[in-house]
Symmetry: C2
DNA sequence: AATAAACTTGCAATCGATAGCGCATTAGTT
DNA sequence: AACTAATGCGCTATCGATTGCAAGTTTATT
């Protein structure tokens, strides 16, 4: 069963004109008489003519499609970003194709390579397991506009939109310290991600600033970004079986935060009395949780819109872009009960 | 700045072959000698050749792209559906383009018409404000495969995947009744949506079954699907200003449920003592809310995968499909504190 | 009236890939 | 040796739309 649609040829035949005349009439060329234009335009409207995008793409050598690579859609942070991306894209006449990496490097390579032929530009947030950037560099060298967001590539050129991760983590850690916590654990995605390095640095510096000794066994990385509950469960067990377990946790990813909360809840570990928790999260209902969850919230929608605007700007720029911007968005901090002092 | 990619022509030139030979070699045609094939395939791999999708689409008259129309991505129910859709689509070699309607009829018409030229088939969940189905019927008549999910179109043909909405609402209402509530309000999207009609029927029949008088002023519809807090706020104020306000609420959409919860929380109305709440929701953390939220949860990911499988099946079917399936998924019910007896 | 200028419109090539058909060249048959 | 069959490859039209150029028609100019 195939979808039959009206082509310029059909219109030409009916109106006894050539396809070139029809084409020119539809794009309101000065070469065509008003009379003919009206005839063509009216008829085209009556049969609901829409140009075939593939033919157009082929001819114009562009697809008016954007590719976005993220770890997972079913994650409030990323779905908010997508909402932002979609809104700007639609407004400027672009479609969006989403690729999920599920934090896997091979999937990311595949996604990027696949997308490369179908899109005019890409929005990329690296996966947790990404070790090499060759697949991205290669495309860039061939002229593919790429904007990095959230999990940016430090060593590659290109527009970048990210949060102030250092500040987010520093403030959260300091907040815990102010509330009397000294034994503070850090759980994040792997630190080959620049954002995690940044957050770790914020955490480290806050400890240092308040002269709290740094303990290596309080620092944990989830290789798969905490996508599965089990991964976080193992980390938590590690932490809790220490001689001197931490009293508070700083979690550095939406999924990890959620799964930490879930773990503590499941094991009847009182938050914050037995374990305080504060985490990066863009979930909607954190304030209504029991106890309410302290979070560092990123400006996800804004990140999506800004990145998309930069990307489209780069795609449509006549001359190669050499001057790249790096937009830094300030995260919002919400201190709530899960990190209350004791 | 445009992206330059290798074409079959480039390969042909380098290897001193014709484009047709290259093409045939790449698709492993019997007409080409093993020797030549190897030459071509190896070279193609070395330059990272990928066929131009637009050219392929044009030639094959298909795009290997699916369109999906939903109200909003940043909604856990729909983002879970998308996750399901994407997984099946990727596996079968299809891309997915998402269109958001934000519950608006005009946007839906636009989305459907726009998509019509770029996709091989569509997955549609109607918007709350959809009154007419002409835009969809028109496409169907021209042969566009369309699968309806969640908010299906009762009067149109096509594969359908939905939840057992009647049962979900009936069980939830009955649960409230068993817990001693008699004055139960119903809040839903507009009832031009079949799923809302069904849920309303479940609600009605549960009341009837337990011989509880039905009150028209306890039934409220949010025209915009509760997308904005203000919309739900107004409904809540209406309900609470009644002489005899309800003691419990059955909410029929993710967003409405969340916003009801938010309203009650904000106005310090104790759940469930002053107002019980139970709602359709696919949020992740409802069990950890304070109080934990009773929900009717839909099998969102499954809905996405099943709908996509049906769609691809229909797209790839040689003969026109005449026998349409309607898959009904049973919702899961979680009784928690927000609907506890009093 | 003759020629130039201004309008309109059509022809044909093009974008990248595919496939029907035909043409060599080589192998096989009698 | 002569003819058929098989193999390997190239030419060309095609998908739908665009666009440079040519050509035809009408109107304006002298």
């Amino acid at each position: 069963m195939k979808f039959e649609s009206v082509t310029i040829k059909d219109i030409a035949k009916v109106l006894h004109l050539s396809t070139s005349t029809v084409s020119r009439a539809l794009r309101d060329s000065y070469e065509i008489s008003e009379e003919t234009k009206k005839l063509v335009v009216d008829y085209a409207k009556s049969v609901n003519y829409r140009p075939n995008p593939s033919a157009l793409n082929l001819k114009k050598r562009r697809s008016r499609t954007l590719g976005i690579t993220i770890s997972e859609i079913a994650n409030s942070f990323f779905s908010q970003i997508i909402a932002g991306v979609e809104s700007v894209a639609k407004e400027k006449g672009y479609n969006v194709i989403i690729s999920q990496t599920f934090e896997n490097f091979e999937r990311e390579q595949e996604a990027v390579r696949n997308l490369s032929q179908s899109v005019d530009g890409m929005l990329i947030s690296l996966s947790s397991e990404t070790k090499s950037l060759e697949h991205i560099e290669e495309l860039q060298q061939r002229g593919m506009p790429i904007v990095f967001f959230d999990r940016i590539a430090k060593n590659l050129e290109g527009h970048k939109v990210r949060s102030n991760n250092h500040k987010g983590a520093f403030d959260a850690t300091e907040h815990l310290i102010h509330n009397g916590y000294k034994r503070i654990a850090f759980i994040g995605n792997p630190d080959n991600l620049a954002i995690i390095k940044e957050r770790k640095r914020g955490y480290d510096e806050a400890l240092e600033f308040h002269q709290i000794p740094h303990r290596e066994d309080y620092v944990k990385y989830c290789q798969h970004g905490g996508l599965s509950y089990e991964e976080v469960e193992m980390v938590m067990q590690d932490l809790l079986s220490l001689d001197e377990p931490p009293q508070a946790i700083l979690s550095c990813a939406d999924k990890i935060t959620t799964n930490c909360y879930r773990y503590l809840y499941k094991h009847h570990i009182k938050i914050p009395d037995q374990m305080a928790l504060i985490g990066f999260s863009n979930l909607d209902l954190t304030e209504f949780l029991n106890p309410s969850l302290s979070i560092i919230q990123q400006k996800a929608v804004t990140m999506g819109t800004q990145a998309t605007e930069l990307l489209i700007q780069q795609i449509e720029s006549k001359r190669p872009v050499v001057d790249y911007s790096e937009i830094v968005l300030e995260p919002d901090f919400f201190a709530r009960d899960s990190s209350k002092g004791h």
